[in-house]
C-alpha cells in the first residue's frame, strides 16, 4: 500500500474549498436577470381546487408570472412517474395515481403546490404567493396507512380503490405456516418503523435557465444523479429534449436518498424559465423541506418467527403495511418490496420466509428511499424479533444469533438474495470484544448504585448494496439499468481526469477515486481530477445512492483503468522495444521488468498524443471509457452493540457506548469509511431515539420544523467505537461491498434492544423519547 493508494488514510482533496467557504452549492449560483420562484402550497391535506384567483398577485411589484397546473399541463408537461413497476400477487400492475408538478384538480397533502409565482426578488415572490387566492373545497383526509385501507377512508386517487397501490408477496406462505404450526416456540411482535424526514443540511434548490438562441436549458440542481434527472425530465416530463438540457449538480450538501428524485420544483423552474424568458431560481426553506422532501420508512408490520427445539429458526412470516404518501415518488415502489422483503433472512439460515406487503396512499408527503431504504425496516424487524426471542427462550442474545448464523457461502435465501461472502461470527466476536460484553453485568450493577438503569442490545445486520445487476432488476420491474460508467482521460503531460457517473455529496469521491489512479500508476492524487455532476462533461451515468459508488462506480473506473494501462504498456513496449507483458508501471514510471530500461509516465502519455511513434495501426491518444454492470448485489454485514443508561426519574436515555464491527469488503480509504459509519449510526440512533414525523388525523404535519422534529445534536451522541473485518466480495474487481448505509441500518434495533433490556419492558416503539420510555417504565 502506497501512502495514497488503496487502503491509505488520505485526507480529502475536496476539503480545501469547503473549509475556506469556497464550496459551490446550487443556491450560491446567481445569473444575470435571475428571478425567484415561490410556490403557493396547500394548507389542506386533501381538497378540491375550485378556482385560483391570481389577479391581485399578478399586479404586485416585481411579479412576472403567476402560473398554475392548468397552464403546466396545457403546455404538455407530463405527470411525475414512479420508475419501478410492482405487480400485486394477483398479477395486476400497481395503481399509480396521476401527479402533476402543479396540482390541477385536487391537492393531496399539505405542501402540495397549486401555483407558482415568479418575481424579481424572493421577498416579492413570497408576498405575491400570499396574495394568490386558491379556492379550496376541503375533503376528508387520512394520514395513517392502516386507516387508509378501511372501507370508510377518503379516496385519494380514482384508479386506486381503497387507496391500495399494490398487495405484493414474496416467499412460500404454505411452508412458513407449516413451520409455525410445528414449531417449538414462536415469537410474535407488532412493529412500527417510524416516519422520518431526511433533513440533508442543504435544502433542495434549482436554478433553471433557458437560452432562446440555442433553444437550450441549463439546470443547476441539488441532485444525487443528474443524468437520471435529465433523462426523466426529458423522456417523461417533456420539459426539454435530452440533448437540449444540461443538468449540473454542483456541490450538494448531503442527500441520504432525498435528492435522488426529480421533484415538481425542478420541472416547474425549467418550464417557467422558458415561458417567462427569465432565469428562475428556487431554494427551499426548511419548512418546505419538511413538507415536501420525500420522507422515509413508515411501516407497520406483524412478524412471527418460529424456532425448533434447538433454537433454530424454522420459519419467518411478515405482514407489512407501507405508507407511500399522497403520490408515488420515483423509486418508492421498490423500497418496501425488493429493497425490504428480500433482506428478511438477515444473517440467518431460515428455510422458509413469507412476506406480504400492502402499499398505501395517504394524505401525507410522498415516501421514498432514505438512507438504507427498506433494509433498515427489515433489519429492525429481524433484530427486534431475535432479541425478543432470546429473552423468551432464556438464552443469550449473542448465542441465539450465533446458533442461526449462515456459515457457508454462497448462500441462497428463500427471498431472492444469494449472499456471496461473509463471516458473521467474526464481526460478532469483534463487537463483543470491543464492547466488553462479558463485563456488562458488572457495569450494570455499578450503574444501579448510581440510580441508573443500564442495558445492552445487539444487532447483527446484513444489507444489499452495489445496486444492481441490470438484467436482474429489469426482470423485477425496474425502469432503468443500474450499471455505472467511467471515463479515464490521460492528458499529454500525464495528469489524469476521471469522469464518473457517480455523484459525490459528501462521500469524498474526489479523493477515493483518485486513490485508484495512485494505486495503479503511482501518480500523486494531486495529479488526478475527478469530474462529476455535469451532463455536459460526463457521459451518461446512474448516480450515487444505495452505497453503490464504490462497488459499482469504482468498478467502472477500474475497467477503464485496465484499458488505459494496457494501451500505455503497449506504447511503452513499442518505444522500449520490449514485450508488453514485461512492462510494469509504478511510481510514475514505466519500466521493463528486470532491466534498467524505463520511461517516465509522462513520456509515454506524450508519445500517445504526438502519435509520432506508435505501434502499427494504433489510434493516438490515451482515453478510455467503461460501463460496469454488477454481477450480483454486494452484502455488507456486521454486528452492532449499544449500551445505554436510563434515568428512571425522567426516562431519559444516554447512549454510553456504541460499538460497530462491519464487513465492507475491501476498503479504499479507512478514514472515509469510518466517517460513513459514524454518520450512518448517528442517523440510525436519531431514528430510534428522537426523530419522528408526526401527522395528525387531519393530515397536518405537526413536526414541520427543527423546533418540533428532533435531529441528533453533538451532545445526544457518544463517540463511536468502530472497526472493520474484511471478507472480499468475489463479484467485483476491487472486492468492495459498500459502507454508506450500514450504520443507519444496523443501529436502531441495537438501541431499542438496549433500552428495553434496561427498563425490563419490551413494549417500546421508536423513537424512544424520554416521555415514552418513562411511560413504558411506569406502565
Amino acid at each position: 500500500m502506497g501512502v495514497e493508494g488503496i487502503g491509505a488514510r488520505v485526507t480529502r482533496k475536496e476539503d480545501q474549498r469547503f473549509i475556506t467557504g469556497k464550496g459551490r452549492y446550487t443556491d450560491d449560483f446567481s445569473v444575470t436577470g435571475m428571478h425567484h420562484a415561490v410556490f403557493v402550497r396547500s394548507p389542506h391535506a386533501h381538497a378540491a381546487i375550485k378556482g385560483i384567483d391570481k389577479s391581485k398577485a399578478e399586479k404586485m411589484p416585481g411579479v412576472v408570472a403567476v402560473l398554475d397546473g392548468q397552464q403546466l399541463t396545457g403546455d404538455g408537461i407530463g405527470n411525475l412517474i414512479c420508475g419501478w413497476m410492482i405487480h400485486s400477487k394477483d398479477g395486476s400492475p400497481m395503481n399509480m395515481g396521476a401527479w402533476s408538478a402543479l396540482a390541477t384538480e385536487k391537492v393531496r397533502y399539505v405542501g402540495d403546490a397549486a401555483a407558482v409565482v415568479i418575481a424579481e426578488t424572493p421577498a416579492q415572490a413570497k408576498a405575491a404567493a400570499e396574495a394568490v387566492k386558491v379556492d379550496y373545497g376541503e375533503l376528508p383526509a387520512v394520514s395513517d396507512a392502516s386507516k387508509a385501507l378501511e372501507s370508510s377512508a377518503p379516496q385519494l386517487h380514482d384508479n386506486a380503490a381503497g387507496n391500495l397501490i399494490y398487495d405484493w408477496e414474496i416467499g412460500e406462505a404454505d411452508e412458513v405456516d407449516k413451520a409455525i404450526a410445528g414449531a417449538a416456540h414462536v415469537t410474535e411482535m407488532e412493529i412500527t418503523n417510524n416516519r422520518l424526514v431526511p433533513n440533508a443540511m442543504e435544502p433542495r434548490a434549482a436554478l433553471a435557465q433557458y437560452d432562446t438562441a440555442e433553444d437550450h436549458f441549463t439546470l443547476h440542481t441539488t441532485s444525487q444523479n443528474p443524468h437520471v434527472a435529465r433523462l426523466v425530465l426529458s423522456a417523461f416530463y417533456q420539459v426539454a429534449p435530452e440533448h437540449k438540457l444540461r443538468v449540473i449538480a454542483p456541490d450538494v450538501g448531503g442527500g441520504f436518498g432525498s435528492k435522488i428524485y426529480i421533484y415538481p420544483e425542478e420541472i416547474v423552474c425549467l418550464w417557467a424559465a422558458k415561458r417567462t424568458g427569465v432565469p428562475v431560481k428556487w431554494t427551499a426553506d426548511r419548512m418546505e423541506s419538511f413538507l415536501t422532501d420525500a420522507h422515509g420508512r413508515d411501516h407497520v408490520s406483524t412478524a412471527k418467527m418460529a424456532f425448533d427445539k434447538d433454537n433454530r429458526i424454522v420459519g419467518f412470516k411478515v405482514d407489512t403495511i407501507a405508507n407511500l404518501g399522497a403520490y408515488m415518488s420515483l423509486f418508492s415502489s421498490c423500497v418496501p418490496t425488493y429493497l425490504y422483503a428480500t433482506l428478511l433472512s438477515g444473517q440467518y439460515a431460515i428455510p422458509a420466509i413469507h412476506a406480504n406487503v400492502r402499499a398505501v396512499y395517504t394524505n401525507t408527503a410522498p415516501v421514498d428511499a432514505y438512507r438504507g431504504a427498506g433494509r433498515p425496516e427489515a433489519c429492525f424487524l429481524i433484530e427486534r424479533v431475535m432479541e425478543t426471542a432470546a429473552r423468551e427462550l432464556g438464552v443469550d442474545p449473542a448465542e441465539l444469533r450465533r446458533t442461526n448464523f449462515i456459515g457457508e457461502f454462497p448462500h441462497q435465501t428463500p427471498v431472492i438474495m444469494a449472499y456471496d461472502a461473509g463471516d458473521f461470527g467474526a464481526t460478532l466476536d469483534a463487537a463483543l470484544e470491543a464492547a466488553d460484553y462479558a463485563g456488562f453485568a458488572k457495569r450494570k450493577a455499578e450503574a444501579e448504585g448510581r440510580g441508573r438503569k443500564r442495558g445492552i442490545g445487539l444487532s447483527c445486520y446484513i444489507e444489499a448494496c452495489g445496486i444492481a445487476p441490470s438484467a436482474a432488476v429489469g426482470s423485477l420491474g425496474a425502469g432503468v439499468g443500474l450499471w455505472e460508467s467511467a471515463e479515464v482521460r490521460v492528458n499529454p503531460v500525464g495528469t489524469v481526469e476521471i469522469l464518473t457517473g457517480s455523484h459525490s455529496h459528501g462521500q469524498g469521491h474526489e479523493t477515493t477515486f483518485a486513490q485508484l489512479v495512485n494505486d495503479r500508476f503511482g501518480l500523486p492524487t494531486d495529479n488526478v481530477q475527478v469530474v462529476h455532476g455535469d451532463t455536459d462533461k460526463v457521459q451518461f451515468g446512474m448516480g450515487t445512492y444505495g452505497s453503490r459508488s464504490g462497488a459499482v462506480g469504482m468498478s467502472a473506473i477500474v475497467k477503464a483503468l485496465d484499458k488505459v494501462e494496457a494501451k500505455a504498456k503497449t506504447i511503452a513496449a513499442h518505444l522500449l522495444e520490449a514485450d508488453a507483458g514485461d512492462i510494469v508501471i509504478e511510481d510514475g514510471e514505466v519500466k521493463v521488468a528486470g532491466t534498467d530500461k524505463k520511461l517516465g509516465w509522462h513520456e509515454v502519455c506524450l508519445a500517445a498524443y504526438t502519435g509520432h511513434n506508435l505501434p502499427e495501426g494504433m489510434e493516438p491518444g490515451l482515453k478510455e471509457g467503461a460501463f460496469y454492470d454488477p454481477a450480483n448485489f454486494t452484502f455488507p454485514a456486521g454486528a452492532y452493540i449499544c449500551e445505554v443508561e436510563v434515568d428512571p426519574a425522567t426516562g431519559q436515555t444516554e447512549v454510553v457506548q456504541f460499538v460497530a464491527a462491519d464487513d465492507f469488503g475491501r476498503i479504499i480509504n479507512p478514514m472515509i469509511v469510518e466517517g460513513q459509519v459514524h454518520g450512518g449510526v448517528a442517523q440510525g440512533l436519531g431514528q430510534a431515539l428522537m426523530e419522528n414525523a408526526v401527522y395528525d388525523d387531519a393530515g397536518q404535519l405537526l413536526s414541520a420544523s427543527m423546533m418540533d422534529y428532533t435531529l441528533p445534536r453533538a451532545d445526544d451522541l457518544p463517540s463511536f467505537k468502530v472497526s472493520t473485518h474484511e471478507t472480499i466480495c468475489p463479484n467485483n474487481p476491487l472486492g468492495m461491498k459498500g459502507c454508506g448505509e450500514a450504520g443507519a441500518i444496523g443501529s436502531p434495533p441495537a438501541l431499542i434492544n438496549a433500552i428495553t433490556d434496561a427498563i425490563g419492558n419490551n413494549d417500546l416503539a421508536m423513537p424512544a423519547t424520554a416521555s415514552r420510555v418513562w411511560a413504558a417504565m411506569n406502565s
Binding site: A649, T650, G651, M706, M707, D708, T710, A770, S771, W774
Partner: protein, 266 residues
C-alpha cells in the same frame, strides 16, 4: 419577513419617542426570538427600535445583597459574571443554558422577560426570586408582571431597563429541555430567601405560562430537601400536552426538576 424599519436608539428617551412615532413598533433586544418570529411572518412590526446600544441598560451590579441586571445584558454576560456567581450562581447557571452559545451572545434578559415565552427560562428565575422589573415608567413586581403566554404587564411604549432582586440564601434551577427546540419542557427555579421563605417557579410545563407552585413552597419552607419538593402533587390538568409529551409526563418532570433544583441549590 415583512417590511420593517430599523432604528437604533441611544437613550431610553429616544427609544420611547421612536416607538411613539411608529404605527406598530416593537423594541428589539437581541432579537433571538423576535427575528425568527418575523422571518416566519408571524409578527410584522412596522418599526424595530433597537435598544441594545443604550449604555445605561447594560451590565450586572451587585451592591450588598441587591443584584441589578441591566435589560440589555446578554445571556453570555450574565452567565460569565463573577460577582453574580457569588451572589446567586443559579442565575448564571440558568443563563448559561439558554439556547446555544450563539443565541447567548445576542439574547438579552430584558428581551426574554418582555416576550414571556411559556418555555423560556428567565421568567422562572424572575418569579422565584421575587424580582422587581424596572421599566421606563415604573417598577413592577414579578408576581404582577407575567400575565399568561406571551403576555406581560408592559405597555406598548414601556421599556424594561433592568431586573433587580435581593440575593437569596439558596437558589437552584433545573430544566428538562424539549429534545427538539431545547426550550424548557419543564424548568423549575427554587429560591430560599434570607428569612427562610421559599418561592418555586415553574416554566415550560404549564398551559398558561410560568407559575408558582405553592405546595412546593410550603413544603420546602418546612423541609429544604429534594424529597420535600418532588413529593408534592403536580396537577396534570394544568400542564401542556403536545407531540413531545403528554401532560402527566410534564407533571412528573416538574416534580423531578424541582427536586434537582433543590439539590443544585445545596
Amino acid at each position: 419577513m415583512y417590511e420593517t424599519k430599523y432604528h437604533r436608539a441611544s437613550s431610553t428617551d429616544e427609544a420611547v419617542k421612536l416607538i411613539g412615532g411608529a404605527d406598530d413598533g416593537k423594541f428589539l433586544g437581541g432579537g433571538q426570538t423576535l427575528i425568527p418570529t418575523m422571518k416566519q411572518r408571524l409578527a410584522a412590526p412596522s418599526d424595530l427600535i433597537d435598544v441594545t446600544r443604550i449604555e445605561a441598560m447594560n451590565g450586572v451590579t451587585v451592591d450588598g445583597g441587591t443584584v441589578t441586571i441591566g435589560a440589555t445584558t446578554t445571556h453570555a454576560e450574565v452567565a460569565g459574571n463573577g460577582d453574580l456567581a457569588k451572589a446567586c450562581g443559579a442565575v448564571c447557571d440558568l443563563a448559561g443554558h439558554i439556547g446555544d452559545p450563539a443565541v447567548r451572545a445576542m439574547g438579552t434578559i430584558g428581551g426574554s422577560i418582555a416576550n414571556n415565552d411559556p418555555a423560556a427560562d428567565y421568567p422562572a428565575a424572575v418569579l422565584a426570586l421575587g424580582a422587581q422589573i424596572m421599566t421606563t415608567k415604573r417598577t413592577i413586581a414579578a408576581d404582577d408582571f407575567f400575565a399568561g403566554m406571551f403576555e406581560t404587564a408592559l405597555e406598548e411604549d414601556e421599556i424594561i431597563t433592568a431586573v433587580t432582586f435581593t440575593a437569596p440564601a439558596k437558589a437552584g434551577y433545573a430544566k428538562f429541555p424539549n429534545p427538539a427546540s431545547r426550550y424548557a419542557m419543564a424548568g423549575v427555579f427554587v429560591a430560599q430567601a434570607g428569612d427562610g421563605s421559599v418561592r418555586v417557579a415553574v416554566t415550560g410545563a404549564g398551559s398558561d405560562g410560568v407559575f408558582r407552585h405553592e405546595g412546593m413552597e410550603a413544603a420546602l419552607a418546612g423541609d429544604w430537601s429534594a424529597a420535600a419538593a418532588s413529593g408534592q402533587d403536580v396537577d396534570a390538568g394544568g400542564m401542556l400536552e403536545d407531540i413531545h409529551a403528554p401532560a402527566d409526563y410534564r407533571a412528573n418532570l416538574v416534580k423531578v426538576m424541582a427536586g434537582r433544583a433543590v439539590e443544585k441549590a445545596g
